[in-house]
Subunit: 336 residues, 2 copies
């Protein structure tokens, strides 16, 4: 029996080639009996397809990225793909290295939440007409398909919500990142403040510091609050900042929302269990993952879509809880 026939049987036969039933059955039985497992490495070398997708995120241990990672993994699995998951720590050198490794391993497509400074590497991928989807952030100068959330809308909503609840000295605590998602979050906050003729008060934590223990960042936030004691509410630009900020607020003995109102960006399962519960701008994790897969699969099948510049913007949802409500603050006041 020839390799050709066997290959046709196992792979369902190429272009109308048929194998007779008896032969087919015999091969199937034999394959079963010896427990044959195809060598996918050899197949990849021959076909040029690896059926592996390379995925780059900032940090796979971040709940946002690990939830998305999980959903994408499940979806790709359905499509017969496996995934290489790597964390860049937002470091350009590491990102480049990982992208090189992905390429050397012949991944079929890329899903990337890009670090700064890797525009030209992404451009290389586009030049090779390989499928690539950026998500969470993107480079406005590149013709990629991007799946993001409405960051400015999210912070705008959060800020407006605080304003409507009577807070007037609202600080925005963020990181010193020039990346588009962070810039947009800043924009939304500023817009709401300006529209209401309130002065903006922005505190940026250095990214190197941001990558350290929560305690250290809490120290920075405490310093900020101590030297700006008129602040009556804070909008945190990331989930991690909110956690560190809550620690700072606790250590300073401030009462939420009576002494200080709080809104976080990026919701998490625990915010509804804090006392008081914490208001947050939720990101549509599920929809985002689905859109990423949908767009990637489109690029995989239709070569023309690969360098088509498109940015899909998904809405955020403000999860209103106690930490930002004037009524809750009022009740607390009465109790004191």
């Amino acid at each position: 029996m020839s390799a050709t026939t066997i290959s046709f049987v196992l792979n369902g036969g190429a272009q109308g080639k048929k194998v007779s039933e008896p032969v087919k059955q015999k091969i199937l039985d034999y394959v079963q009996s010896i427990g044959y497992k195809p060598n996918l490495v050899a197949r990849s070398l021959r076909t040029g397809k690896s059926r592996i997708i390379g995925m780059l995120v900032e940090d796979i241990s971040d709940p946002f990225f690990s939830s998305i990672g999980r959903i994408i993994e499940d979806n790709l699995y359905e499509h017969g793909y496996k995934i290489f998951h790597s964390s860049t720590d937002n470091n350009p050198a590491r990102s480049k290295d990982l992208l090189r490794i992905f390429r050397e391993r012949q991944v079929d497509g890329y899903i990337i939440a890009p670090s700064p400074g890797i525009e030209s590497e992404i451009q290389h991928i586009l030049n090779d007409a390989r499928p690539v989807i950026l998500f969470d952030r993107f480079f406005p100068g590149l013709d990629t398909t991007n799946v993001i959330i409405n960051n400015a809308g999210g912070t705008y909503d959060g800020t407006m919500h605080l304003i409507m609840n009577g807070f007037v000295s609202i600080a925005f605590i963020t990181i010193d990142s020039e990346q588009v998602q962070m810039m947009d979050r800043l924009k939304g906050y500023k817009l709401a403040m300006t529209e209401n003729e309130l002065p903006s008060l922005i505190q940026k934590i250095k990214y190197v510091e941001y990558k350290t223990a929560p305690g250290k960042i809490a120290v920075r936030i405490k310093e900020f609050l101590t030297s700006n004691d008129s602040v009556d509410a804070i909008l945190f630009a990331t989930n991690y900042l909110a956690i560190c900020g809550l620690q700072a607020i606790r250590e300073l003995g401030l009462r939420i929302p009576y002494d200080i109102g709080v809104v976080g960006f990026d919701d998490n399962t625990h915010f509804s269990l804090f006392t008081p519960t914490i208001t947050a701008v939720a990101q549509p994790v599920e929809e985002m993952s689905k859109k990423v897969i949908e767009q990637l699969m489109l690029c995989m099948t239709d070569e023309n879509t690969r360098t088509m510049n498109e940015t899909i913007v998904l809405p955020t949802k403000l999860m209103i809880r106690e930490s930002s409500l004037s009524t809750v603050a009022l009740t607390m006041k009465k109790q004191i």
Copy 2:
């Protein structure tokens, strides 16, 4: 110039083969100029080594597994390995499928937090003398290298701590899993209760239910607490159960630790921000990851260690916070 010479230059030359400096330099320059990138798929096919490790966990979006995943990814990267990360949902069929895929892709080694029912698949890997490390749980009948924590010790400590703080009707809320890590947690609890002549009270949540939304599990826990109103403390067997349990306790309007003491198993960053702060048995995530890598690398280099039965047991650490302290309960009592 022959492929042999080029290969020697790029891979540092095999077994004492030397390439003259001028030739070497010329090749290096040329390779640089055309931007040559090796095809690692071809190399894998030829050498039989993929430099890929397959990792199977229950759920990569679980903070415990994603933290370990991150550390292991970083460590393997240092060693020149990449990782396939997959979630099994503790489902045997899915686990088997993923293991088959790993094999077809010729992974060099396996890191597995096994689901039930895959003993024979793991045995196959051992028979092939492939490096495999089990962690978090293991199969007592197999000659694998296992890295686990002292589960029984952890729950014993947690239970003893509650008893020493005056709690007498301590319930253990767990899942209906027969896996070794869960059985050991149960054992530690029972031992502490028996030693102190206290009656055990165990509530098992069905695994299918466990995989649903926190709200549904909270309902189960509320039912349990309502029909067992003498319970004065709970030890939760997993992090997720603790979160759901805290929701249940909140919804019932019970005050921690005055009405009910709480200890969780598996610490998380947020427990120190809850009101009151939550006591938990912390797992040594960093050490565990390092041990896994260390043992895997040992198996990779030394074939003899691959089927050596060894179980490395790491200690847990009780993080004592407010939710379990009699002094805190006392203070609350005075305030009421």
